[in-house]
């Protein structure tokens, strides 16, 4: 009990610090960059619930993210719904997609699952391209609602993202510490053995894919207001897939801290590279760092730290 209270306090403190930072109004670029980094914290954490805990590598991250974003676009177009509604709806729709993907794991494991998720992303993108109401292939510009609760709209979105990332990390941490996390770890290591030991593998997998989908959709829902112009190529960008996968891999996939460390490090490095060198360079960095970590330090930074401590 004391422990969960402490977690709650730490979470609240982070949210408070975020809002304080938003109220400080330093250089606006800080919020722009910070939003992207926090968005990656949410995405990396969401990816890790399925990829790290359950061992199902999802290449379809852009599908879930863009589905969240396009659900928001649809609601903005049709009803001009407020931001909290957009976030809830985005999470709900992406969560349903996650549930569907979960049933796919009945037949597809390992590599085949990964390729199927990649295929899913492209099929969804084609459907969005051909759906004129949400902008089709040309894209759609979205007008931000006037009068955010505080600061400029970007600082407001930044604060929202702080809240969302704290929420995502809390969910991941809770899953990791509960019997659900242990069940997922069991099926990651050997699905047949876990099933034989009485672990409800299907229910756990469905739970993991759904939660992962919800969080990715939630990360995508504020996206239209952030960029103010949504088009399929950027929303379904495969860069999200490699980033959402590289960040937990670099940080460490077995613990909730891993994706956060990875997202903050890699996200910051990319923001710096985009400003100082070129935007293509940042993907190159991701690729090289990803391959280097997978080959040399498969346990990620968390694993490295543990090894040093263990000695």
């Amino acid at each position: 009990m004391a422990r969960s209270t402490r977690t709650l306090l730490v979470g609240l403190a982070v949210v408070g610090a975020g809002i304080l930072l938003a109220a400080l109004r330093v250089n606006p670029y800080v919020y722009f960059a910070g939003y992207v980094i926090l968005q990656y914290v949410v995405m990396a954490t969401a990816w890790n619930i399925l990829g790290g805990y359950a061992g199902y590598v999802n290449f379809g991250t852009p599908a879930f993210f863009a589905l969240g974003a396009y659900t928001a676009v649809f609601l903005i177009q049709s009803t001009r719904a407020p931001l909290p509604v957009l976030i809830l709806a985005g999470g709900l729709v992406s969560g349903l997609l996650g549930l569907g993907i979960g049933y796919l794991t009945l037949r597809l494991r390992g590599v085949f699952f990964s390729i199927a998720t990649l295929a899913l992303s492209i099929v969804l993108q084609t459907m969005i391209i051909n759906w004129e109401y949400v902008g089709g292939s040309r894209g759609l510009s979205v007008i931000r609602p006037s009068g955010p609760p505080f600061g400029s709209y970007v600082t407001f979105l930044f604060a929202v993202m702080v809240l969302l990332s704290v929420m995502a990390v809390t969910v991941a941490r809770f899953i990791e510490r509960s019997w659900v996390g242990r069940g997922l770890a069991a099926l990651r290591d050997n699905e047949e053995a876990a099933e034989c030991m009485g672990v409800p593998t299907l229910r756990l997998k469905l739970f993991a894919t759904t939660v992962s989908g919800v969080l990715l959709g939630v990360a995508g829902a504020p996206f239209p207001y952030y960029v103010t112009f949504v088009e399929p190529t950027s929303a379904f960008n495969l860069d999200y897939a490699v980033n959402a996968l590289a960040m937990p891999m670099i940080g460490g996939t077995t613990s909730w801290v891993g994706p956060v460390i990875g997202a903050v490090l890699l996200g910051t490095a990319q923001q710096l590279a985009t400003v100082t060198i070129s935007s293509e360079m940042n993907l190159f960095i991701v690729g090289v760092v990803l391959v280097a970590f997978v080959v040399l330090a498969p346990e990620g930074i968390v694993g490295l730290v543990r090894r040093v401590r263990g000695r």
């Binding site: 037949r107 390729i115 295929a119 991701v286 690729g287 990803l290 997978v294």
Partner: protein
């Protein structure tokens, strides 16, 4: 329809490498399309600076790609396969390789469309009222030749048979006195070498940008899965099916839908019949 058939021959050429590496060796080389694009750029560079024919370049570069493939496999083997943790980390490894190749190309050559020039591009012959563009015919013929060559390699030569054996029973192969790792290195090298030629064909058919590889991930794996994981004849059949399906789709519904065909077929094939059309 005819264009679809011709496209099918070309798709077979593109997918042979995946069929060999993923289907037979069971290595999830998701970076294969990037190697194909690398082949396209090799063809482009040689064509624009020396005026060399694209397909000839593709052929000339096969040894280079073979060595490249062998090196990549050794790295993969040393880091993952020997430790027995190949499937997931290996997949991530190749995903990283895909991005490294793609971004290196766009850093070096930019994101403009590149194309090659050859005497036969733009010409066509008339067969009973149906015009057939050499631009499509030549890649199709080369693709068929490659399919045949790989089939002969696998069924007639010692190394080819050893590759088939390694996919079935590694221990038995070792008892026969052949080294599985060496055989796999050879097969991986051949698969990547096929990408060199396939890349040359690709740039003959249409202009190429570094990110073209993303479109081909789905096609390649759809064809390999549909064809039955490593069956060379199945690959050809599946490639033709996909080629025809795509060109019909693009005629009736517009070109923006044609990419979804391959991925749609892939999803259905994976969900309904993972063993493929001509599966074992």
């Amino acid at each position: 329809m005819v264009a679809g058939l011709l496209l099918g021959g070309f798709y077979a050429a593109v997918s042979l490498g995946v069929s060999l590496i993923f289907g037979l060796l069971d290595i999830a080389n998701i970076a294969q399309p990037a190697f194909v694009i690398l082949g396209s750029y090799a063809a482009y560079v040689m064509n624009s600076s020396f005026g060399l024919d694209a397909i000839l370049t593709g052929l000339l570069f096969t040894p280079v790609f073979y060595v490249l493939g062998a090196v990549v496999y050794r790295l993969y083997y040393g880091s993952f396969e020997r430790r027995g943790e190949e499937s997931l980390r290996g997949l991530v490894f190749f995903f990283g390789v895909l991005f490294i190749i793609e971004v290196s190309l766009s850093l070096k050559y930019g994101v403009d469309y590149r194309l090659v020039e050859a005497a036969y591009i733009g010409k066509s012959i008339d067969l009973g009222g149906v015009g057939i563009a050499f631009r499509l015919l030549v890649p199709c013929l080369v693709g068929l030749a490659m399919t045949l060559a790989l089939h002969l390699f696998l069924s007639r030569t010692f190394y080819g048979r050893a590759v088939m054996a390694v996919s079935q029973d590694r221990l038995a192969l070792r008892l026969m006195g052949a080294d599985p790792v060496r055989i796999k290195t050879i097969a991986f090298g051949v698969g990547i070498a096929a990408a060199s030629l396939a890349g040359a064909l690709l740039i003959t058919i249409a202009p190429v940008v570094p990110s073209t590889d993303r479109d081909y991930i789905g096609r390649m794996f759809a064809i390999t899965v549909l064809g039955g994981m490593g069956s060379i004849a199945g690959t050809l059949v599946a490639a033709v099916i996909l080629g025809v399906a795509e060109s019909l789709m693009s005629t009736f519904f517009g070109p923006s839908w044609s990419l979804a065909v391959s991925f749609g077929i892939l999803l259905v094939a994976l969900a309904v019949r993972p063993a493929g059309l001509l599966g074992r």
